[in-house]
Symmetry: C2
Subunit: 275 residues, 2 copies
Amino acid sequence: MNSQQLFEAILRKRSFLCVGLDTDIRKNPECLQGKSDPQFAFNKAIIDATAPYAVCYKPNLAFYEEHGAAGISCFEKTVAYIRAQYPDIFIIADAKRGDIGNTSQMYARAFFEQSTVDAVTLSPYMGYDTVAPFLSYPDKWAVILALTSNPSAADFEMQELANGRKLYEQVLATSSTWGTTDNTMYVVGATQAAMLETIRKWVPDHFLLVPGVGAQGGSLEAVARYGMNSRCGLLVNSSRGIIYADRSERFAEVAGIKAHEMQQEMDSLLTQYLR
Amino acid sequence: MNSQQLFEAILRKRSFLCVGLDTDIRKNPECLQGKSDPQFAFNKAIIDATAPYAVCYKPNLAFYEEHGAAGISCFEKTVAYIRAQYPDIFIIADAKRGDIGNTSQMYARAFFEQSTVDAVTLSPYMGYDTVAPFLSYPDKWAVILALTSNPSAADFEMQELANGRKLYEQVLATSSTWGTTDNTMYVVGATQAAMLETIRKWVPDHFLLVPGVGAQGGSLEAVARYGMNSRCGLLVNSSRGIIYADRSERFAEVAGIKAHEMQQEMDSLLTQYLR
């Protein structure tokens, strides 16, 4: 999927919602106990309930790797299920990978050949070599960490460089020359919404993946106000705020309601801020 | 395993060799074709041949993730095999993970509870939150990327900050306050051997994991000269230079010979530089 197709999906659904599949089986509703693969059973129910309102799913690899090979099998089944049932939905593997040379090439194969996700989150620390193999696949995306929503973003991301830029600005300035707006996006935490103005100076046309709305406290309205561009340019992620909104046997229905509420707010924000 | 136990293993074997299990089945010797799990069959043969000369194995997760759940199963079998046959050998999962909060906690569980490796490589980009969960496990280690051996290390790692330090120096200065020399080490590429003098000013007592000797061109002697401290403080990794030294049915024997050669050079270097 390229950026124009992603924008068209956003316009069709009047939504730029990404649902984060951070599926922690400790939090599974009781009604799923005894299922053969309770993590997948949860995902399937959540996906079916939220798909009308979401343009993107973002399985978080850590939550699958915790269960070893069985967890990876669940990740694979989840991706296959979305592909089969909802082929127009974008899938981001939230993996925060970042290695170099032949290792980076192997990660690109893992996600774009063994798996068929559209995009992978990557850490930029080691530079261009980390990202390059991911950019060679048509219609696939590298989603590069820029400015995250955690307190210790100050440790390094916010450090000021000798050239006057913050490190995250240097990451934007440098890495935006590696690819295009059709194969590169950036992770920008929603708690940093006011900084989206600065970020848009560096990457006016790129899509941004914005986690941290909801459970982490970021405001959707502020993200749209400071971050939206002429093709929306935003995918706003909500994980716990949707998938764990309810823990009873109504969990999926309530997740759908929460996703619908976000979609409705996004519909208004698209009317207000899409220029 | 704590740092003293690791040092004692180094003295017992007169070796600070880490063998990187970057097992690419495209390069598997023909004699392994038709095996039920050729990647594991390769690892098992390599481990048996090199274990007398190695204090550490470093499976590179990308090479297992490429095969999805089956690859993760091979990674798990490989770790279990080393644990059962060679319980005094340190195991580093080379995974370059780096996320925050409950995701980072999940990665720590994946590697230290679901798997039983001793250490995981981590990217420091997102700061303390990335590393913290890994430091709460007794005798387990975070191996933090500092200065890597790839050309694009210049993109960000070598950037000069407003405080006059390079970014990798800031990473060392900051992150060395998070843990101890018993739960934190650093990745420093061997092609940067001369910079080990600078690195030792920041982390005189920490263990360093040094890839890039051999295939990537770094000199073992230079690494020992600039990097060795009073408890060795080095794990030098070789992957392709050992495991793919030969592709015939003698592949394991030749890997053992190559590992033995490195061990002999390390024995001399320990005599020369251990102070």
